[in-house]
C-alpha cells in the first residue's frame, strides 16, 4: 500500500542545490565582510580563519589544552548523560502525573515552582552539593531537559481520547492496563516532541554548564578561547555546537518516524 519514493528525484536535487547555495552565499558574504573589517570590531574571524583553527585543533591541544575530538566527546558525554537521565525520570513522572490525579495534586505544585528557575542558577548549589565534576554538569543539563520531558508527557496523556479509554474499560481492562496499553502509546508522539525539545536544550545549555570548572568540553573551549583572545576558536566552538545539534535533530527525526509508524488518528 505504501508508495516507495524514488531515492533522488528532480525536485530533491533542486532543493539540495538551493541549500548549498545558501551556505555558499552566506560564507562568501561573511568572508568579504571580515576581510575588509566591516563587521563591528576588527576581531571577527573570517570563515577561512575558522577553518584554519579547525584543522589546527584536530592535531594540536592549544590554547585550551585538549584536542578538538576530546572536547567534543567530553561535551557529548555530559549532555547525553543529562538528557538520558531526564528522559528516564521525566517521561514516566509526567505520564503518571497525567494519569493519576492524586500524584498530580501531590507533585505538581512543587514542579510548577521549580519549573521557572533557570537551570544555570543551580550552579552554585551544585558546586556545594556534588562538586564540579562531570556529575554536577550532567545534573545541570538534566534540570534543563527534565522540564519538557515531564510537561509533554503530562499534557499528552491528558489528551488521551476518552473514546479509546472507554473501549479498554468495556473490554474489562484495569486502570493500570489502560494506562500502559492505551494512555502511553497514544502519548508517544507527544513524548517524542518533548524529547526533541529536551535534546536541543540539553545541548545548547552546554556552554553554561561547562562554566563550572571544567577541564575539557566545547563550552570550556569557547571560554578558553575568550580568555586567550582567540576569536577563531570561539567561533569554531559555536559552529561545532550548532552542527552537532543539527545532526541530533536529523537522527532523532528518523528514529521518531520509525517508532511512530502506526500514526495517530
Amino acid at each position: 500500500m505504501k508508495v516507495k519514493r524514488k531515492f533522488f528525484e528532480k525536485n530533491d536535487l533542486k532543493y539540495t542545490l538551493m541549500t548549498v547555495l545558501t551556505f555558499v552565499v552566506f560564507l562568501m558574504l561573511w568572508q568579504v565582510l571580515a576581510m575588509n573589517n566591516l563587521i563591528v570590531g576588527e576581531y571577527t574571524p573570517s570563515p577561512s580563519e575558522v577553518l584554519e583553527a579547525f584543522i589546527f585543533k584536530i592535531y594540536n591541544v592549544g590554547p585550551d589544552g585538549n584536542l578538538l575530538i576530546t572536547n567534543i566527546l567530553t561535551s557529548l558525554q555530559i549532555s547525553m548523560s543529562g538528557f538520558v537521565l531526564a528522559v528516564i525520570i521525566g517521561v514516566p513522572l509526567g505520564l503518571l502525573m497525567g494519569w493519576y490525579r492524586l500524584l498530580d495534586r501531590f507533585v505538581r505544585p512543587i514542579f510548577e515552582i521549580i519549573r521557572p528557575i533557570p537551570a544555570v542558577s543551580w550552579i552554585p548549589l551544585m558546586i556545594v552539593w556534588i562538586g564540579v565534576g562531570t556529575e554536577a554538569k550532567a545534573v545541570i543539563i538534566f534540570l534543563t531537559a527534565f522540564i519538557p520531558c515531564v510537561l509533554n508527557s503530562y499534557t499528552g496523556i491528558r489528551q488521551t481520547s476518552q473514546a479509546l479509554i472507554n473501549v479498554a474499560k468495556v473490554y474489562g481492562a484495569s486502570n493500570f492496563y489502560t494506562f500502559l496499553h492505551v494512555g502511553v502509546p497514544s502519548t508517544v508522539p507527544m513524548i517524542f516532541a518533548g524529547m526533541r525539545i529536551a535534546l536541543a536544550s540539553s545541548w545548547s545549555c552546554l556552554v553554561a554548564a561547562e562554566m563550572l570548572a571544567a577541564s575539557a568540553g566545547l563550552g570550556y573551549m569557547i571560554n578558553m578561547g575568550r580568555n586567550f583572545g582567540r576569536a577563531d576558536v570561539v567561533v569554531l566552538g559555536m559552529i561545532i555546537i550548532g552542527f552537532i545539534g543539527y545532526i541530533f535533530t536529523t537522527v532523532f527525526t528518523v528514529i521518531e518516524k520509525i517508532v511512530v509508524r502506526g500514526g495517530t488518528i
Partner: protein, 255 residues
Amino acid sequence: MEQKYLTRLKISNISKSFPNKEGKRELAVDNISLDVYDGEFLVLLGPGRCGKSVLLNMIAGLMKPDEGKVVLDGEEITKPNPQMGMVFQKTGLLPWLTVMDNITFGPRQRGESKKIYTERAQKYIDMVGLTGFEKSYPYQLSGGMKQRVGIARAYTNEPKILIMDEPFGALDAQTRYSMEQEVQNIVEKDRRTIIFVTNNIEEALMLGDRIILFTNYPARIKKIYDVNISKPRDTMDRTFLMLRKEISENTDLAL
C-alpha cells in the same frame, strides 16, 4: 408470543442527571424500564443527543445510574462487564495496533491463550469480510472497514449482549446501506442479543425486531413497536412504509 422469550437484560427505573451550566441538575435519562429478550435485535431509536448514549453507557457499566438498576442474567451491573460487547460510534480503534491486535484486545488483556483467541478472531475477521487485512493499521482502512473491525472486535469477545452505538452514523449513505446489509448477514450467521442505537428510522426498520422510540431530551420511552416483517426487508414494502410513516410522525424533532 413474547412469553416464549427469555429476558436477558432487565433495566428497571433508571434515571441519570447531569449538572448544567447554571449548576442545576438536568435529567438526561428519565425513569426508563426495559426488558431485553434473548436473541432479539432491539433498536433504540431517538433524535440526536436525546440521552440514548447515556442510557447505553449505563447498560455497559461505564456510568452509574442515579436511580434504578441494570441486571444481566440476574446479576446487577456496576462496572464494565466483558460479557457485553460494544461497537462504538467513533470506531474506537487503537491507531498503533494492527487490525488483528485491535480485535484481540479484550481476550489478550484477560490473559487468555493466544492460540485460542487468534483462531476465534480469525473466524470473525473472515465473517466480516476483512480477510487479508489482519496486519493493516487502522489509518490504512476506509470508514466502513474500520467499523467492520469494530464489529469483529466485539464478536471476538464472545459477548452475551452486543451493544452497537450508532455504529454507522459517521458513514456516507452508500457505505451505510451496505453495512446494514452486512450486519443482517452477520446476525443470521451468528445470532446474539443485540442492542442497536440509531437516529435513522429506516435503519431501525431494516434491522430491528423491536424498536423503542425515545422522546427528546431527557430520554423517556415514547412508544414500542414490534416489527413483524420477515428479513431481509424491502424498503418499498407496504407494511414497512406504513410503519416508517407512523414512527416518523411520532418522532420529536431534535433541535
